[in-house]
Amino acid sequence: MDERTILDAHELEINLGPQHPATHGVLQVKLKLDGERVLDAECVIGYLHRGVEKISENRNYVKCVPYYDRTDYIAAVSNVYGYILGVEKMMEIEVPERAQYIRIMMTEFNRIASHLLWLATHALDIGALTVFLYCFREREEILKLFEALFGARLTTHAFRMGGLWMDLPEGFVDEARKFIDDFPKKVDEYEQLLTNNRIWIDRTKGVGVISGEEAVDFGLSGGVLRGSGVNYDVRKQRPYGGYDRFDFDVPLGDNGDTYDRYLVRVEEMRQSRRIIQQVLDRLPDGPIRGKVPRVLKPPVGEYYSGIESPRGELGYYIVSDGSAVPFRVRIRPPTFINLQALRRLVKGLLVADVIAVIGTLDVVLGEIDR
C-alpha cells in the first residue's frame, strides 16, 4: 500500500471474486485501483483444482475420458474429442467415415452452444439482459440434441474410442436441420440488439486492445487471437478428424479489441452452422465404430493432439510407457493461456472494463484450474 496515486491518495485494493457474479466461476482478480482506474491486476486461480491430470495417471486410457468432460464443462464434447483423437493416433485406430462426420457435427454444435453461452454472459456483464435469455433459448435446443444422442446435456461423455457409442437416434437429423435452418435468424436477432448499438460499441470498441504480434507472444489462441487478425485456426492449419473435407471461413478481426472479438465469435457461429449443414447434406451410411482392441496399450512414445476448441487450441500431450495406463497426460488449456493476457489487457482501464475483458477472454475456470 505504499504506492501513491496521482491524487496522492492511497490506492484501493479490492478482490474481484472468487464470489462475484461476473468472474464466470471462481476466478479471483486482485485489483489495485486509483479511484476507478486499474493500476494492476493479479489473477488468483486454483479454487477449482481437482488434479485431473494426476487422476489420469491412475486410470486406463478409456476410463480417463469422462474426466475431460469436466475440465471445460461448457465445451465437453470438444474436450473429449481432443483426447480421443490423441489416443486413436497413438493406437492407429481407423474411425469409420460416418462416425467422423457425426463427431464433427457434434463438435460444431458444441462450438455454437459454447459461443452462445459466452455471448449470453458477456452481454449480461455489460448490462444487456435480454440477449442472455435469447442465447439460452437456442442453447437449450442444442442441449436437447446432446441429450438425444449422448444421454446427457452438460457432461456428455460424447465419443468412444474408434467411433461413437450409438448411432444417431430416430428424428435426430430432422431436429438438427430444423435448428440450423432457424439459427441464422436468431443470430441476426442478437446482432440487432448489439452490433450497431451505440452503447455496446462504446463499451467494447478500443477496450482491451492487443496487437496480433503481442497475442502470438502471449501464446493466445482461438477467438482472442483471431480478433487481433492472426489467421490461426487448428482446423485449417493442421486439419484433424476430417475437417479438410468441409468448407468454412476463418473470420478475423482488425483491431484486436473487445468488439472485434465479439464480431469474430458471432461469425464463427455462422461458420459452424455452415459445417453442420454440409455434414447433414453429405452424411454417409456405414458403421459407427472401428475395430478397437479390448485393452488399449499404446506403444511407448510421446504424442500431441491439438484441436480447435471453442476457446482456442486445446492440446493433449500424452506420454505412454507401453502399459494400459498413461504415464502422463498434460492438457494445454486454451483459456489458462489466454487468461495470462488479462493483466496486460486491463492495465489503465476502468473497473467496468475489467468485467468486459474477463468476458471477452471467455474463461472457463474448470479448464483453467483442472
Binding site: 476507478e36 449480461l124 448490462g127 444487456a128 439482459l129 452503447i199 462504446d202 463499451r203 476502468l350
Partner: protein, 364 residues
Amino acid sequence: METVLTYVIIPFIKIGIVAGVVLLGVAYLTYMERKVLGHIQVRLGPMRVGWHGLLQPIADGLKFVIKEDIIPLRADALIYSIAPLISFIPALLVFSVIPFGPPQAFENLLRWVLPFFLSQAAVENVVKSTVATGGFVADINIGVLLVLSVSSVGILGIILGGWASNSKYPLLGALRSSAQMVSYEVALGFTVLSVLLIPQTLSLVEIVQKQQESGVWYVFLQPVAFVLFFVCGLAETNRNPFDLPEAESELVGGFHTEYSGFRFAIYFLAEYTNMITISAMATILFWGGWLRPFPNVAWLGFLDLVPGFIWFMAKVFVFLYIFIWIRGTLPRLRFDQLMQYGWKVFLPLALANLMVTAAILLLV
C-alpha cells in the same frame, strides 16, 4: 367545524389515499417490471403466487420483513440503519404536490356526501376551497422547486448508506451514484426550466391548467426538452442504461451490497418511487397531466367521461413501461462515458434549448 374539515380531515384522508396508492403502485411496479421483462425475454415472469403471480409483490414484501436485518460489525450502525429511510421518505414526500387530478376533482363527490353531515351553507363553504376538492394533497406555488429539491435529498441516503457500510464495493457504488445524480440533476434542472418559461409559473397545477388554456401539450412545444428530461430522469433514478451505482456485474450490488432484509427493500421502494415521480413529472410538465388528448377540441368531449385520474395514471403507466422496455433492450454505459454524456452532451443541449426558448419567447 368546516375549517377543520376542509383543512385537516379531508387533506388527511387524501394523504392516506395518495400514500396508499403510491405504495401499492410501487409494489405492483415491481410485479409489472418482472412480467414485462419476462415477456420481452420469452419467458413468463412470476406465475406461482396467485393468479398469474399477482400476489408476488405481497409475498416478496413478507419475505423481506421476516429476513434477518444484518448490520455489519464495522459499520456505523446509526447511519447505516437510517440511510434507507433518508432515501425513501423524500421520495414519498414528493407526492404531496403532484396533482393527480383537476382542482375540482372531488367537488361532486363532496356535494353528494357532505349534506348527510352538514348544512347546505357549510357544504358550499367547504367546496369553495380547492384544498378540499382538488385532486392533489397540496397546491403550492413552488411545486416544481419542491419536487426537484426534495427528490435530490434522496441521494444523501445512498451516499450515507454506501459510506456507513464500511466496505469497498458499497463505497464505490455510493461514489458513483453521487457523482452521477449530481451531474444529471443539473441538466434535468435546465430542461425543466425551459418548460417553465412557457407557463411562467412554478405551481404544478397551474402548469397543467396553462396547457389546457393554450390547448397544446408542452411536449409539442419542447420536444428536445422532453427527450432530455426523460433520459436525465433515467439517470436520476439509476435505471438502465445508467444503472451504474448498482451495476450487479461490476459492483456486486453497489451501495446496497451490505444491506439485507427490509432495509434493502426500502432502498428498492425508494428507487421505484422515484421512477413513478419522474414519470409523473414528465406527464405533468410535458403531456398535460390529467388532461385528455386534445383538451380543447369540443367534439372529443366524450373523452371527458373518463376521469382525469385515469388519464394521468395511463400516461404515467406508459412512461413506466418505457422505463422497463429500455431496461430490457440496452446494455449499460461505462462510468466515464456516463459523465461525458451528462456534461458534454446533455448539459449543453439543455442550455441551448433554454436559450432558444427564451429567445423565441422574447421575440414573439
